[in-house]
Symmetry: none
Subunit: 144 residues, 4 copies
């Protein structure tokens, strides 16, 4: 199952609203459960460098079915996943990428946000996911 374009648009609209409330300029990406781009939106004056980061955050969240920030905790020097960012044409493992899980517990895609502090990026991604699903996956196996 993949996130629909209707849901992707709702997520982007909600994320955009949150970004404005925070006074930020964000890049917002939505990918489907195969990590393929579904929709993308760059607010005026957002960093050009955030385009790729937002997309990579969304892909990273789908690749492993978890928030990007969780992976980043394990990929620090000395951590069990140190260097994982070198896989999959480049991962981004700091906060701002969140899985989208539907009400049957199925991973249907992810939202990735970049353009401000990681706290703001995370809050905007959260706002996007919240209108169409949740970010928590049930215990494995969960992918379809």
């Amino acid at each position: 199952m993949h996130v629909t374009i209707e849901h992707a648009e709702s997520a982007i609209a909600a994320a955009r609203k949150k970004a404005k409330e925070l006074g930020t300029q964000m890049c917002i990406a939505v990918v489907d459960s195969g990590a393929n781009l579904k929709a993308f939106y760059r607010m005026d004056d957002a960093w050009v460098g955030s385009i790729d980061i937002a997309i990579k955050k969304a892909k990273t969240a789908v690749f492993f079915g978890m928030p990007t920030g969780l992976i980043g905790k394990l990929s620090q020097p000395g951590g069990s996943l140190y260097g994982i960012e070198h896989s999959n044409d480049g991962l981004i493992t700091f906060p701002g990428g969140l899985p989208i899980v539907d009400n049957e517990g199925v991973l249907v895609g992810a939202v990735g946000v970049s353009g401000s502090s990681v706290e703001n990026d995370h809050a905007v991604a959260q706002a996007g996911v919240a209108v169409i699903g949740v970010s928590d996956l049930p215990a494995h196996p969960w992918r379809t």
Copy 2:
């Protein structure tokens, strides 16, 4: 000058409307005048392979300030630009990518469309550009 997100949204809405009229499922990309992604929209059931093609068509149209199909006429075997597709991480030089030129003759971005025949791709891109500008550039120099 870059296409604004407001204009990009208008272009995608118009392109989407045209795509539906034609009974097609399209990927629609908008890039700014620096060839950086501004907005992207993948209709449900569009080919996954069209994501990259739509984006590359938009980039190609901005890279050279002309419709992608024009470049394709010059890049055939024996043509003056044979093999140009190998540059810039890959160009797409068949129809479906069109520059966006504002009413002062300035290139502000491009629309790229992929998902059906090249005739349909071109028609959908044209519908997108038409609501916010034109595709014809004045004589060089025109870039800002």
Copy 3:
């Protein structure tokens, strides 16, 4: 929906049997409907250069929901899709890649084969698909 590993194994076993009948050494790849690798098998003495070709053929067949050879007919010099191979990190558009469509008409993945003549590659891919589905998709829309 994605091809299961059980089905992927059946496809590879059937393809391998056909390859042996033909006296060939093949690389055989199966991808899911998101174009992500599901299973791969390289027969002893197969060309090392065929690894990437088999995988790219499978991806190409999923990207556009059609046999790779069909795309190749349109991508010849002067054709409407000339140069499409430059997209998606490289397509392979000669025969040997076939979609896998389940009995409800849903694209669930693809088989890609490389290692001999394109006729043999195609025949081996066909043998792989035949045990788990068909290669013909209903009219658009068909993707899930």
Copy 4:
């Protein structure tokens, strides 16, 4: 000398059995002594992001004839191989990749596993190697 497809299949079967015992969903890759993919197997519900990691672990283990985790100890900040992951189109240097050494002490390939904790990944790779060889190489020179 290269691992045969018969041996690669035995390794994958054993690894898969171990993965099931551990209640995990794994990607399992086997490469030959030239670091070229020989066989690959993705269990249903395994992370999509683990495809590339499993393959890179196997390649990394062959590139240097040692378990990936050993390299990771040397590539930490301040370590003698800091940043080695940037070579060879991306290495993965945490546990889960193991060389396959035949009974004459010759490196014939490697197994790479990804999909769970690094301890589980390592255990599954170990189970795969154990049925067809060992992971310990004699002192240099050993490559053929």
